[in-house]
Amino acid sequence: MLDAATESAPLVRIQGLSKHFPIHAGLIRRQVGVISAVDRLTFDIRRGETLGLVGESGCGKSTAGRTILRLYEATEGAIIFDGTDIAGLSGEQLRRMRPRMQMIFQDPQACLNPRMTVGQIIAEPLDEHGSLSRADKRARVEELLDAVGMNKGFANRYPHEFSGGQRQRIGIARALALDPDFIVCDEPIAALDVSIQAQVVNLLEDLQERLGLTYLFISHDLSMVRHIADRVAVMYLGKMAELASRDALYHEPLHPYTRALLSAVPVADPKIEATRKRVILQGDVPSPANPPKGCRFCTRCPIAVDKCQWEVPEWREARPGHFVACHLAE
């Protein structure tokens, strides 16, 4: 049994996590600058919850997810996974942590090796960790295929023989093979059509309930995040804009960017849709190689004041459990 203390302790604590990609230019490929794809993120992911991570394309959501899993080296900051800071681990120590955190990818076509059978793909984690016999491995693969709602006989087939939704299920089965605690879902439904999206999301929810999984659900589909997430974090240009429980964020967004994002979600009622007032943002996202000095959103913010131009807003808890990075949020 878990005691109260571990129950409430977050599974993943991200503290000041940054990922900067160097820019090389010139004849001798000197480093001339950095792209700060992810800049000083700080948040917790609680055990058993689904944290939605939303933002527009190129804002660093996927980079954040991959850095948390140490697929990229973090430039600075700590990733405390169940009490261990994995940002500093290397080699074999990191490899031993790998089974506990897995990833589901956006493109179900690209995330499966076309030269391996489905059985080999799902068994790869089992080959790498643990020493199951051949028969046990086969049994486990069949069990996993069953868990994601696929025919056991599919183990001998190749990925190209399946549709997008089925491939995504194969990817999910692979992620589940080692009984992870934490799964980063990197836009797992973005490449699927709408009817399949619902199936995959329902499968993810069902698995979460059965296996007690914790998700970081990266998406730009606000309605889907509203459906699946317990808490939602909003990113803009590599920085966290707002983090709150789902209901608080959708009903009472504090950050002007969140308000603009939410106003872009269409309503399935023509009468409301016709009279709905949208916040239209002007201009483009600035380059992450040369972000604005103060608040990163100040160039497009409808309510920006002078202070926003030169002072970086602090990441603060405006209300209990509701974090925001905006000078003007009360």
Binding site: L94, Q102, E124, E128, E161, S163
Partner: protein, 307 residues
């Protein structure tokens, strides 16, 4: 279109896991070009291996009275200007040419694929390995061959005998001067492959680097390697003949297809069979190997295999 195949009810699944090589073989056998290529290649191989036991004429035997004969019963492919039997020479030369072609190709594939994969996958050694590749590409081939031959021919001959010494030398020369294109092609493929999500997925599982290379990268760069390999055999046979022609290869009394072709070129109007037969042998070998490579490449790709 793929849905139909995947959704069809699976009724008779084999209880055992399908083995990859079994599938490859089944698909290879269904490829008509590959089967024709294999048949021709095997025929050539059998002829040069067992032919000299049936046609027991010494390829070096001079018979000056029977010189420049066209095809006859005694000399099915005629004779050359010194009265040596062409069929015996073609058969004996085939042994050398095929052995040189295949070993040199294997060596060049090994070096090329290894350099390409390592340079593409490990960023740290990419620069160094590619500069070495550029260096080899920039080397003037003929002076290099001259220098290598001068330096090592006699030492190698003394160490492992005249014939095997020159064989090792020629295979080595052809091998180390023909791997660069393969390396560059493979590196390019690996650079795109390693950013693919299945490699990322393998890394998130905790798969070690050498396993990622052998399990995910290598099988996916097999196609370009295969194409280079089939072209490589042809290239090696022709380079060997050029070397022999320059007097840097096998000694002049040691027939190879390339040497027969070059020696016969001067007598083309008198005895055309002297260039037709060795030329035909080279062409057929190259063509059949190309078809085999084609079939093998298709058979190794599961996306094409079923069709």
């Amino acid at each position: 279109m793929t849905d139909a195949a995947a959704n069809s009810p699976v009724t008779a699944m084999p209880p055992k896991q399908r083995s990859m090589w079994g599938d490859v073989w089944r698909s290879y056998r269904r490829h008509p070009g590959a089967m024709a290529g294999t048949a021709v290649f095997l025929l050539i191989l059998l002829a040069v291996v067992f032919g000299p036991y049936i046609h027991t004429v010494d390829p070096g035997k001079l018979d000056i009275r029977a010189k420049n004969i066209t095809m006859s019963l005694d000399h099915p492919m005629g004779t050359d200007n010194l009265g040596r039997d062409m069929l015996a020479q073609v058969l004996a030369g085939g042994r050398t040419s095929l052995a040189v072609g295949i070993t040199a190709m294997l060596l060049s594939m090994l070096v090329g694929a290894a350099v390409g994969i390592l340079a593409g996958y490990f960023r740290r050694i990419d620069g160094a390995l590619m500069r070495v590749t550029d260096l080899f590409l920039a080397l003037p081939l003929l002076p290099l061959l001259l220098v290598i031959t001068m330096l090592f021919r006699d030492t190698l001959r003394a160490a492992i005998g005249p014939e095997s010494g020159i064989f090792v030398l020629i295979v080595f020369i052809i091998g180390i001067t023909s791997w660069m294109n393969t390396a560059r092609i493979v590196r390019g493929e690996v650079l795109t492959l390693k950013e693919r999500e299945f490699v990322l997925a393998a890394r998130s599982i905790g798969t070690r680097n050498h396993r990622i290379l052998t399990r995910h990268i290598l099988p996916n760069v097999l196609s370009p390697i295969m194409v280079s390999a089939t072209l490589g055999i042809a290239n090696a046979i022709i380079t060997e003949s050029a070397l022999s022609f320059l007097g840097l290869g096998f000694p002049s009394d040691f027939p190879t297809w390339g040497r027969l072709l070059f020696d016969g070129a001067n007598f083309m109007t008198l005895t055309p069979s002297r260039v037709i037969w060795p030329g035909l042998a080279i062409s057929l070998t190259v063509l059949s190997v190309n078809f085999m490579g084609d079939g093998l490449r298709d058979a190794l790709d599961p996306r094409i295999r079923g069709r």
